[in-house]
């Protein structure tokens, strides 16, 4: 017990409709990387919010360095040398890195022995030293709004270090990063541990845990399943414990047999605002009962292409033929009416009305139809009926059912809501853009199975994903995009993941 820096003793936290943490006891050793694993909504973030003083537990005790403490605010947590990097960064965008880091604990110097003034110079030096010590590459004078997401995250880490945090909590830190950035973050986390810090890593990505964590605690539906040495447990076992049933990442599906053409994309070219060609003369087709996926490294024009097909962007040239009709100039609603469903990449900005409740969001594409609207008057009870049905069918977890404000839901459940809404449209063409981004393995599998089910029922599916594994699992036809152009078109059965990987890098060109 002596080297346990954090002990959580029978912590229980209830919310109006849900027990988020049910009698959880953990002890974390000084100087280890302790992973907290669980699905979206398993209670990981709540538990850490309790430790960070954002929530007060209903029952249970917290010990820090062997002493019982009551933590009622982040300020008190900070005084106990606990720091947290939130999923949503808390940074002031129009100020410099240094100003952000010192906010709230600004060092001052006396000018002329009279006026006190923020000691920006001294702070900058300290920040430089800290970032050198832990391999965090950050320019202290850069403005936050000019920095990429990964650098902003490093600023958040520096913020904790500047406050002498010993216990560092990372809330799903890799959700917003690219694979390369994830690698460098993980090595930063390791160097923090080697520097004597204690790390708590909230995540649902198993391979990251395997790479860096020493021990991991697995939570499932608010309960602690167990604490394991990472070396002595396989990712397969972790996944099963986390979702609460035997997990297998294989997806079963029938062989593709071919069907009539639903979507024909002909020579689509798109220039963006800066007059750069982002989609370059792209043509392909999608058939009934077929999953066509577009693979590619982020930013090679896939998302823009999907936006063009969905009607959010107008192509500079080229035509889109849907079920034999030219829809290039049709509005989004006309496309929806023609039964095209779209699951956009940005679920919060494009997919949902965050400040409206779940029942409204679930009817966003059909609210103007009977039975939701009759004679120009909305019918709330129909919204509820539809909402309750979809919530049940798609296992959307939320604190207050239909009347939950969507903003308060977890990312995974927001995504489930969008998918439920779109699938319930009974469309003929489904466009999925990164449908499983940021979700846990259970949710990913669920969504992938639904995509397969759409295909089995004869729908046409266009899937755009950055996850090669997902593409290999689901597709019948794989299109690889590189620099806005189609680099290769392959039948799934005739290609390996490695080959696709090469095409994605632009290595091999195939006309």
């Amino acid at each position: 017990m002596a080297d346990d820096i954090v002990v959580l003793d029978h912590i229980t936290k209830r919310f109006p409709r849900i027990v988020a943490n049910d009698d959880i006891s953990l002890s974390i050793k000084k100087g280890e990387i302790y992973a907290l694993l669980g699905e979206n909504g398993a209670g990981k973030s709540t538990l850490m919010s309790v430790l960070f003083g954002l929530y007060e537990p209903d029952e249970g005790r917290i010990f820090i360095r062997g002493k019982e403490v009551k933590i009622t605010s982040p300020r008190e947590a900070s005084a106990l040398n606990i720091g947290m990097v939130h999923q949503h960064f808390k940074l002031v965008s129009d100020q410099s890195v240094t100003e952000n880091i010192i906010l709230g604990i600004e060092p001052t110097v006396k000018k002329l022995g009279l006026f006190s003034k923020i000691d920006i110079k001294g702070a900058r030096e300290r920040i430089k030293k800290l970032s050198a010590d832990f391999g965090l590459d950050v320019d202290p004078d850069a403005k936050i709004e000019d920095l990429p997401v990964s650098a902003r995250q490093r600023v958040e880490i520096l913020k904790m270090l500047y406050r002498d945090a010993e216990i560092l909590i990372f809330d799903e830190p890799t959700a917003v990063l690219t694979p390369q950035e994830i690698e460098s973050l993980l090595s930063v986390i390791k160097s923090l541990r080697d520097g004597g810090k204690t790390i708590v890593l909230i995540t649902h990505k198993l391979d990251e845990i395997k790479k860096v964590a020493d021990r991991c605690a697995i939570l499932c539906r608010g309960k602690l399943v167990g604490v394991y040495d990472v070396d002595s447990i396989s990712t397969q076992e972790m996944a099963s414990l986390m979702v609460g049933y035997e997990y297998s990442d294989e997806v079963n599906k029938e062989e593709y047999t071919g069907g009539e053409s639903i979507l024909e994309v002909n020579n689509i070219t798109l220039y963006n605002q800066d007059k750069v060609k982002v989609v370059d003369n792209v043509s392909f087709s999608v058939h009934k009962g077929e999953i066509v996926s577009i693979a590619g490294v982020a930013g090679n024009g896939q998302v823009e292409l999907a936006d063009v097909i969905a009607g959010m962007l107008t192509p500079s040239s080229g035509t889109i033929i849907y079920k034999g009709n030219d829809i290039t100039d049709k509005t989004i609603r006309e496309r929806t009416e023609a039964k095209i469903a779209y699951i956009p990449e940005d679920r919060q900005d494009v997919g949902l009305l965050l400040d409206y409740d779940l029942s409204v969001n679930l009817a966003l594409k059909s609210y103007y139809h009977e039975p939701y609207c009759s004679k120009g008057i909305l019918n709330p009870s129909e919204f509820r009926k539809n909402g309750e049905m979809l919530i049940k069918q798609y296992d959307i977890r939320s604190s207050e059912g239909c009347s939950t404000i969507v903003r308060s839901m977890s990312g995974g459940n927001q995504q489930k809501a969008i998918i439920a809404r779109e699938i319930s449209l009974d469309a003929d063409l489904y466009i999925f853009v990164q449908p499983t981004r940021g979700l846990d393995v259970g949710a990913i599998k669920n969504i992938q199975e639904r995509i397969i089910a759409l295909r089995e029922s004869g729908k046409a599916v266009l899937l755009i994903s950055l996850e090669l594994e997902e593409i290999m699992n689901l597709s019948d036809t794989i299109i690889v995009m590189y620099n806005g152009r189609i680099q290769a078109v392959k039948k799934r059965s005739e290609v390996t993941a490695n080959e696709i990987g090469y095409y994605m890098m632009g290595a091999k060109h195939e006309a």
Partner: protein, 319 residues
Amino acid sequence: MNSIIIDGLSFSLPLFIIAIGGIYSERSGITNLALEGLLGFGAFTGGLTAAIIYQFTAIGGTASMYIALFAALIGGMVYAMLHALLCIRFKANQVISGVVINILATALTAFLTNQINASLFGKASNRFVLEVSPRFSIPLLSEIPVLGAFFTSIYPFEIVILAVALIMWYILEKTPYGLRLRAAGDNPQAVDAAGVNVEMIRFSAVMVSGAMSGLGGMCFAYSISSNVSPSIFSGYGYLSIAAFIFGNWKIGPTFWACILFGFARSAGYSLVNVLALPSAYSDLVLTLPYIITVILLLFVSKANKAPKSLGEVYDKGKR
């Protein structure tokens, strides 16, 4: 030429100090359309104080002027607490609160001025008459050709304004309080997470805006008419809002915007005089700063960047 500079400065500087108050409020995240009402109420307080001093004490002109300026500052600050309470404590819509405060100020000061004049000073009047502010010229400097006008016939309040403006700039840009204030207008969540009370910051910033408006309003009263009457509400508060928007919510550029407005106005008056136009044209000149505003809006709106959380009620739970 001389009068363009002299009158231009004495109009620009009060405008500037009011705009600084607006910058404080808006950089902290609270929309402040109430500057018009704040400056009027501040001037009312100052005018009342000056009238009482004149009637009941032996304190002389210059000293009474400084006391009146200070009283106006306090009056504006206290009245601004109404805006702060509505917007911060009761989370009211900040635009509506600002407008209401302006309307209330017009009505309230007119009513109170009449009542107080009748009961305290025993005369029927809708204004407090002020003693004429002394003016001075700086020896030598004022004798430089053309530029010397900047040092000629200066109102004492112009020096006060410059000193206060410098202090206000220092606080906003160089002190911890200023850093927190600026952060509160961009991302209050970050300020809260840093353990700083966002509401306190914003409340105090609105009070500062009231104080600066009160001071500026009293300066207008001395320079334009030597009395405090309902004509104090002639849109200078709105003009200063335009000024700090052109100044991109930064004190330095805002100074130049104020100078532009002030000089446009005084140049217009000179033009009317030189061309010996009928007096109706001087009314036309009064519209000049506003016409410039409209024209400038066409050009600067695009590049302008308001504080990110301006006008948003801070709600801790929101992600």
